[in-house]
Amino acid sequence: MDLAVGPGEIHALVGENGAGKSTLIKILAGVHQAYAGEVRLLGERVDPYGASLPLSFVHQDLGLVDELSVGENVALVAGFPRQAGLIDWPRVWARAREIYLAMAVAPPDPRLPVGALSAASKAVLGIVRALARQARVVVLDEPTAALPEPDAAHLFDVLRRLRASGCSVIYVSHRLGELFGLADRVTVLRDGRRVRAAAMAEITPQQLVEDMLGRSLELHHAAHPVENHARPLLAVAALENAQAGPVSFQIGAGEIVGLVGLRGAGHEAIGRMIFGALRPRGGEIRLDGTLLPAGEDVAARIARGVALLPGDRGRESALGGMSLIENLLPSAAIGGQRSWRPLLPARERRRAQAVLDRLDVRPRDPAALIDWLSGGNQQKVFVGRWLEAKARLYVMEEPTAGIDIGAKFAIHGLLADVARGGAGILVVSSDFEEVAALCDRALVIGRARITSELRGPGLTVDNLVAHASIGAGAEAGAGASGGG
């Protein structure tokens, strides 16, 4: 595997999960030892495993301590300046300010607790802290995943200034759209090898995706015709809360609609308002023509036939330490049961077994604990759980995030089946490839509103990347369409 990063450049490192990005970074960080090969810094051969290099790492979870101040967080990495053995607090504050100013970023009050900063300011602090060690190369691992769009743009600004100061940046990202206009060069990894190294100007998003996947991109749609119903299954009008909206759209029975945006665009909030997990500030939701009362909670919405598959599998779906039976039939509402009607173990077992067989979950043992399953198999169980609820409208957040390609296709197939059965599906996702492959229609969310609608042949990864990026503002880096 090769990677060459020039001085003063932003170098993008892309690849699918498992392509070897993390391993490469860990070798550079000295966590793993390389079997063979060498690392050269400014032409000199170095060994990251033995010596510590002027490299700094900013991981996705920034490793900041929320309870401590900005200055203290910097000092935790850079060391506390001391006077007579005691911490020299004025210098702690001064140094934090200096590093910010060196990057031409307006420093926050260094005495402010980090918990009070916005997500973007935290990410910037993560970089500031990395620079406190006089790094020549900063490695950023998916730094914008949790950032709302304007904040990401702010972070990109900081990166450009960093580049201008002669520092190199290795930028790991799944969000190809944001690389255009930001990165100078890109290295694509696949199966632990470099498959392409190119200047960003010479490559298109489609090429990048094809390099990552190792095959030409087939933008196949579940192209079953959807007749335009006089009365749509779901009609949302002027729905809004603090994070999103107002938005208006409709979903017909049997339709799979993508609600697409870069993470933080506000599309998650829309799905959650429909499910009753978030209170809307205004607007109307109609299911089958019936106006849903605004104050309804999740239980009431489930009873009306709305389901939500949460995006955060570990925290919001998994019932750790519980069996697959219990994970498939966790509550009365989902099992189609009454709260006081006895559960019959043999019947539950048969029911769970049927779902496991249909979804090809490994192991196919209903008594296995959910913790024993791989991520993809767990996700199949959680999809299966909601299929048992026999809902009419499914809100699916990132239905295949972080799972292997086989399980991904299996879940896509399931969702297509569900839609054919007459249910409506709203796929809330930041995964453009998924939306392009799965959805009949996509609503692109940018700055909390619907900025465009793509359908039919126009629904491609490229178009989604372009539209999502435009919606997020040219600054976020839409290569071809940056002027739009």
């Binding site: 239980a299 489930i302 949460p310 330490g321 509550s331 009454r338 192991p363 296995a368």
Partner: protein, 350 residues
Amino acid sequence: MDEQVSTNERLADTAAARPHASGRLADLTAVYGLAVVFVLVMVVFGILRPNSFFSTMNMNAVLVGQSVTAMLALAEMVPLATRQFDLSVGFHLGMAHVLMIGLQVQQNLSWPAAAAIVLAVALLVGALNGILITRFGIDSFIATMGLGTLLYGVSNWYSGGAQITGLNLPASFANLTEVIGYIPLPAVYVAIVAVILWVVTERLPVGRALYVIGASPRAAELLGIRTKLYIGGAFVTSGLLSGIAGIMLASILGTGTPSVGPEYLLPAFASTLLGATSIHPGRVNVIGTLLAVLILAFSFSGVQQLGAAFYVQYFFNGGILIVAVGLSVYAAARRRALAAAGAGKAGAAD
């Protein structure tokens, strides 16, 4: 073609089953561990003290004496299923038994009337715990400790800090906890409550919801489980059972002593947690809890018959609590390790 498919399936099945098979033995020992320990305790002390240990008197003494602990352990189990602590059960038990005696002696109420009041107060106490935790968001550890201490104050205030002697209590009240033939009535009450709780926790969606909340409150909410209602309900149940335990204790003792109560918390707690290491490892459960109470009671009784001093009881309860939690942590780690191995193999089969 058909044969091909079935062969593939069989391969997949065996690959998936392999980690499970190696986990089976560990599972079996985990599931029946407490039952085995219980039998061992009975056999060992039965051999060491064959005449006294199995005597009807000893059996009844243990069963009657431990029925209060067992009832309290069951009370504790319900909120623990949702991973909420109820540290008020001991204090609550004390207050309930003081009230039960006091209302008869000082207010001249009949025992059913006094019992009705005690149970009403018990429901109120449970509801208060629930409200403090779900409405005001106070950590259950703090809320129940605080409310429990308040209850302790109430029973001391009501009794003036002195023991209330129930000299003229009706025989019908003392008979509530008598031994009929070979069967001690308190054990029967515990059995009835245990059966009801078993059905609720193992066979009703309501009980499953409690465990789901315990596994992940956030996931439970997104599954349409009204977590606040369930947690509140768990504390009301815990309060009610503590009140029943108080009535039993009053009937057994025949006096109301305001200092009694807090010392019941730890054995109840220890039993519930020890019970969670077995039957459904990693999860508090009715049968495990009862087995744990019996093991603690009979082994302590056995040690006593071997001539141990009274204070050994505290070593027992404290030691068991630490060992129980240690065991469950170890069991959980072991299962995780097995799970990781299982996931690896299942992944390889994909």
